[in-house]
Amino acid sequence: SSIHCIRGTDLFGYIGIEAVLDQMRCKTMKAGFEFNIMVVGQSGLGKSTLVNTLFKSKVSRKSCAPDYEEKISKTVKLHSVSHLIEEKGVKMKLTVIDTPGFGDQINNDNCWEPIVKYVNEQYEKYLREELHINRKRRIPDTRVHCCIYFIPATGHRLRPIDVEFMKRLGKIVSIVPVIAKADTLTIEERQEFKERIRQDLAANGIHVYPQREYDEDPEERILNNRIRENIPFAVVGTDKEHQVNGNKVLGRKTKWGIIEVENVAHCEFANLRDLLIRSHLQDLKDVTHNIHYETYRVRRLNESNLNFSELGLSAVPLENGTADKCESDSHL
């Protein structure tokens, strides 16, 4: 069948096709959204605080578990905690995955392994559900949509553990690196540090979010280029509020001043928040689903030799008239 192009001018009047946008909006609001965010970095870098600041509530495990002890664990364990949050009728199930013990040992060899294992386990869970005969209407999504990696504000360069981790995880999940506790760096130091980090990332072939190769069109490329020129974001987190110029602001009070977390002149928290939540949240999910998950799936199906087309799945000729030539024909 041929495709004819009938543009808006050919339509002799308004039909109401654009109403489908509202229909879609209603349906997605009713269904709700899921978002799974992982935080990785050694103890004391302010991971829990940052996540709480991002979502303006106590979403991290540290804040919810009443018996949480500030102990350095001997191995890297992963903990996830989920909350239902709502804003202007939009419901979201937010899962924060914490990785206590990462980078805290004397010998940190292979400390990324439990994390790699966890990420792949979520892909595996989804894949199994997707392959069921009787599938759920909505497959529960526990896949990690975004991994925030905390770089300590040394001011020098990336450390070996940073490079090793991001190299490996960057292949299977979208990494957003941030400079933690950035209030110890001046603006100049910060810029230099960021530049060196970007060089180190490029030198090691590490692709962080937003990955250049997934830009879908020129507009998106321009937008994402601007972001890529500014990462990693230098952040400061807090849940305390102070009075500044008669306004209540989130900030850290020190003897030499108040660091306003949401002030872009002070730190880049707002940029991070806008990227992760206000503009690219859906994109993070899409990249996870369309790219990372598909890559995992291809690998798994090839490993297990699961090639359905080989079984001559269809005996019905396809619509364009060509019959499905399965291997059995040539074999015989």
Binding site: S2, L11, I15, Q23, T28, K56, K91, I133, S314
Partner: protein, 433 residues
């Protein structure tokens, strides 16, 4: 029902400030705008019932149409795809029409090409979904989202062809029945007709598409519309002047039927329901209900299960391996069979050839014998003939001698003897012959 809350371990939490994820629906919608939407409508109805005209009227445009003949030997389907754009929404619309539906003398198999078409689209999607390297979000979805079934405006009841066809399709596609050319039915007759149709559908267990009631924003209008089914429609792309406006209408000597006038027909209701209110739901139902059913049946048919007879979960790999083993064994078996068959045929041919050879040989022997016999017979004849010849020669010689003797001995008596000898000789010769 809040689907998310059903997950265990997710506690509700209140936010102490504006986070900003309320923009999520917009983020999602913007992505969809970039990708564009697909919508596929299947129109089933008799030739000339007004399918193409209704599509033109519905989408305010002129699709390429041509009149079909009434003499199609079989029902066929014709699909055409169009790219429409309204403000920033790009819609890829595919309109599929039946050709020759209801024209054949024997309509028993009329529904089959339609069912096959719908299944082929599901199959195509399933194959893409099961590919190793797949590209689902770029896939041109050709699955039928809405099926408009055109009912003849007889005013009495549904035809058995209608019931049979709709029954075959109700688990595969969203059926929206419409009464075509509704301007041939009076208002009171129409009301009775609608009731009759709906009750026949119910009593025959035909599941038509129900406009969804679970969303409060549309529940009210959908409930009301569900009560107006089937929609009585009139289609027209020609415009007639009514009052001081040009409206789409059909002009008769006794009046003007206005397509977009809700008092005249249900066209506006159809457009409202199909496009403005429920397009997304039609797409969703097709994907989550009809397609899933097709997929489940197809995979079960191939022997895949989620749990084994003891209700323990079966790993897909196990099933796949078993299936693959089965498949390879089947291939092997067929190969062996063919090989055996080949050997058998060769043997048969060999035997055949041997028989032919033997027969040829015996015939040759026979001919040889025949030939020898004939030769012997001829030899015998030859010998007898030679014998005769020689005995005749002897007798002639004897007679001649006698003649010679009588001549020298007696003159007078010679004449008699000559006669006598001649007669004798003649008699001897004639008795030889």
């Amino acid at each position: 029902k809040n689907e998310l809350a059903m997950d265990k371990g997710a506690r509700p939490l209140s936010l102490s400030g504006h986070v900003g994820f309320d923009s999520l629906p917009d983020q999602l919608v913007n992505k969809s705008i970039c990708q564009g939407f697909c919508f596929n409508i299947l129109c089933i109805g008799e030739t000339g019932i007004g399918k193409s005209t209704l599509m033109d009227t519905l989408f305010n445009t002129n699709f390429e149409n041509f009149e079909s003949s009434h003499f199609e030997p079989q029902v066929k389907l014709r699909a055409q795809t169009y790219d429409l754009q309204e403000s920033n929404v790009r819609l890829r619309l595919t309109v599929v029409n039946t050709v020759g539906f209801g024209d054949q003398m024997n309509k028993q198999e009329s529904y089959q090409p339609v069912v096959d078409y719908i299944d082929r689209q599901f199959e195509s999607y399933l194959q893409e979904e099961l590919k190793i390297k797949r590209s689902l979000h770029n896939y041109h979805d050709s699955r039928v989202h809405a099926c408009l079934y055109f009912i003849s405006p007889s005013g009495h009841s549904l035809k058995s062809l209608d019931l049979v066809t709709m029954k075959k399709l109700d688990s595969k596609v969203n059926i929206i029945p419409v009464i075509a050319k509704a301007d041939t039915i009076s208002k009171s007759e129409l009301h009775k007709f609608k009731i009759k149709i709906m009750s026949e559908l119910v009593s025959n267990g035909v599941q038509i598409y129900q406009f969804p009631l679970d969303d409060e924003t549309v529940a009210k209008v959908n409930t009301s519309m569900n009560g107006h089914l089937p929609f009585a429609v009139v289609g027209s792309t020609e415009e007639v002047s009514v009052g001081n406006k040009m409206v789409k209408a059909r002009q008769y000597p006794w009046g003007i039927v206005q397509v977009e006038n809700e008092n005249h027909c249900d066209f506006m209701k159809l457009r409202e329901m199909l496009i403005c209110v429920n397009m997304e739901d039609l797409r969703e139902q097709t994907h989550t209900r009809h397609y899933e059913l097709y997929r489940r049946c197809k995979l079960e048919e191939m022997g895949f299960k989620d749990t084994d007879p003891e209700c323990k979960p079966v790993s897909l790999q196990q099933t796949y391996e078993a299936k693959r083993q089965e498949f390879l064994e089947e291939l092997q078996r067929r190969e062996d069979e063919m090989r055996q068959m080949f050997v058998l045929r060769v043997k048969e041919k060999e035997a055949e050839l041997k028989d032919a050879e033997r027969e040829l040989q015996s015939r040759f022997e026979q001919l040889k014998r025949l030939h020898a016999d004939e030769k012997a017979a001829l030899e015998e004849k030859k010998r007898l003939l030679e014998d005769d010849q020689s005995s005749f020669g002897k007798r002639r010689a004897a007679a001649q001698l006698l003649q010679a003797q009588s001549l020298t001995a007696n003159g007078k008596k010679d004449k008699d003897r000559k006669k006598y000898v001649h007669v004798d000789t003649k008699a001897a010769v004639s008795s030889e012959q």
